[in-house]
Amino acid sequence: MSYRLRVNPITCQAHGMCHELLPERIDLDEWGYPMFDSRPLEPDLVEHARRAAQACPTFALLVEREKKLSRA
């Protein structure tokens, strides 16, 4: 079971709490918007990622479970 970060860039308003709570994976660009790559989350970071997603005032940050289905 692996998890990935995703952000809804439309609802994101650059509050920046995600970066404070998950600095290992989330950086902020020069305008305060989150930047991260699409690598799966390390298992010990998943709880922190969830906390960061819950802290987001606009629910822009998402922690998504990897689908195990093979692509068509």
Binding site: T11, H15, E20
Partner: protein
């Protein structure tokens, strides 16, 4: 020294104290809420701390509010019912001023429930209801001044004043960005705040601080001569 049991019940004192603490916590919540939306932060106060603190202080103030209501209902001195806590102006004890408390409480119930169910309601819906929290504060303050047995006391007045100043400071921080995007709303808020302050300046000295307020406020006759007044030590 006056024993509490001699001039009133434990629940009556608890209702007053929890009410005062609830006002203090609500004021703190408003200040933190404004700091949150204005994105104020520092090295030692990161954004997530301000945000979490705002949420927790708000929840705590609701807990004190619930205690305030329960103790008022349980108290045998007055005939305040549970219904009076949510349906305003139907009670027999200082109906108008108590009713204001019910109005504020109703608003805070809406804010609390929508906040707890934020994920399901979605951001825009939650935000729309959250504006009620600004409205609930002045109503809660006037409720306290009007119903409070402690209003005349120095410490209570000082607390009221400090809370008022804190919320005004928060408002001063909140308004400038509102003016740049919605000048109408900004003007309305400024006007409303000014009117509220004028109201306080006129009413407080001539109302709760003046003589015979208990009767004028609608305290039932049966309670009048037993009303635990603020006795000086």
């Amino acid at each position: 020294m006056m024993l509490p049991l001699a001039s009133g019940s434990v629940t009556w004192y608890l209702t007053r104290s929890t009410g005062a603490v609830a006002l203090l916590l609500l004021s703190a919540s408003v200040v933190l809420g404004v700091a949150d939306v204005r994105r104020l932060s520092s090295e030692r106060w990161p954004r997530f701390v301000i945000d979490a603190l705002h949420r927790n202080v708000a929840l705590l103030s609701v807990c004190f509010l619930v205690a305030h209501i329960i103790t008022a209902v349980l108290d045998s001195f007055t005939s305040i019912s549970l219904l009076d806590a949510v349906v305003p102006f139907i009670g027999s004890y200082r109906p108008f001023w108590l009713g204001l408390g019910a109005v504020a409480f109703d608003m805070l119930i809406a804010v609390t429930i929508t906040s707890l169910l934020r994920q399901r309601i979605g951001y825009t819906g939650w935000r729309a209801v959250h504006w009620l929290s600004y409205g609930s504060w002045p109503i809660a303050l006037v409720h306290g001044l009007g119903t409070g047995s402690d209003t005349k006391g120095t410490w209570m007045l000082t607390l009221d004043l400090l809370c008022l100043l804190a919320v005004l400071a928060a408002l001063a921080s909140r308004l400038p960005p509102v003016f740049s995007e919605h000048p109408e709303r900004g003007r309305l808020t400024l006007g409303g705040t000014g009117a509220f302050l004028v109201f306080l300046a006129v009413w407080v000295p001539s109302g709760p601080l003046a003589s015979n307020w208990a009767k004028r406020a609608g305290t039932p006759t049966a309670n009048l001569h037993h009303e635990p007044s603020h006795a000086t030590r």
